[in-house]
Amino acid sequence: MSGAPGEVPLSIALREELGDAIETARTLQGELTLRVKCEAVARVCATLRERHGFTRLVDLCGVDFPGRDPRFEIVYHLCDPAAGRRVRVKVTAGEETPVPSVTGVWRAADWPEREVWDLFGVRFEGHPELARLLLWDDFEGHPLRKDFPVEGTSSLSPSPGEGGGEGTGEGAGG
């Protein structure tokens, strides 16, 4: 199967190996971005690692596009150190759609997937322990969603230490 004009050899090879799991391939600013079917992402990543040398997961993050459906993008930046190549893999996910975890492909995905759950509310199926990473357990909401206000919402209860120093009245303090 030949790819679109100008499509790089990697994406052509991947289409041959993975078929319609690869939705699109785009090169911009010298960077190759592959859009991949959400349910196939673990399989695509495993292929990239085992057959194409992408042994490093450089980064994994989320992006919110509330005007789109599904609204979230999960973005993976991979690196093949031997050949010095990089590739960006993206999937889209909705609020209810779990994304297959890639912790089985790279252990480096552990905390970044937890962070996406914490800040965007996207679940990763197969993650060993999907818990909040940066915020605390009682925190309500997912702050990097575009509809979450920067300063938080008034319904956010303060963490246990907040509430100020009134009533303490000790020593010469205050």
Partner: protein, 158 residues
């Protein structure tokens, strides 16, 4: 024959109260516990070096144990996740105790987000705010001198 009065001077006697002694000791030797939460922590480090030498103004040792300290210096933003820990450290310190909010972040600062408290003052009582981003070791020294005045009781001679 009259006995001449003794010519050797009497040894000087210093009369005082326990409170004054303790205050004098506290002034000269605050025992800080330092919460270096952000970049300001790095500005506290040069305070220890020979150029600034904070130790000559009293705080010889920065203890890690709140139970043995009387001054809490918080340098950096107090996140909402951090707030309960700051509260716990403050509560573990015995009376009398004082606190310094070092830097703009500790004083309420630029981080107006869901994640940060409105400053150290929303968590514990604060004696001295030192503004600056970062304030510099000299500003911490000035804050310690201000603190000395707070510890000194009203009307006492220096």
């Amino acid at each position: 024959m009259e006995t001449a009065p003794p010519t050797t001077p009497e040894p000087p006697l210093l009369t005082t109260t326990w409170d004054r002694i303790f205050d004098w000791a506290r002034r000269l030797g605050v025992r800080p516990v330092r919460l270096g939460l952000g970049c300001c922590a790095f500005e506290m480090l040069p305070g220890l070096d020979p150029r600034h030498d904070l130790a000559r103004f009293g705080p010889e040792t920065f203890r890690a144990t709140p139970g043995k300290s009387d001054l809490l210096v918080v340098a950096g933003p107090v996140s909402r996740k951090m707030a309960p820990l700051v509260r716990r450290i403050w509560d573990e310190m015995p009376d009398p105790k004082w606190s310094i909010a070092l830097g703009s972040c500790a004083g309420g600062g630029p981080w107006r987000t869901y994640a940060v408290t409105r400053g150290l003052e929303s968590v514990i009582p604060v004696d001295i705010h030192v503004p600056g981003c970062p304030p510099g070791a000299e500003a911490l020294l000035a804050a310690l001198r201000e603190l000395e005045k707070k510890i000194r009781p009203e009307g006492a001679a220096s």
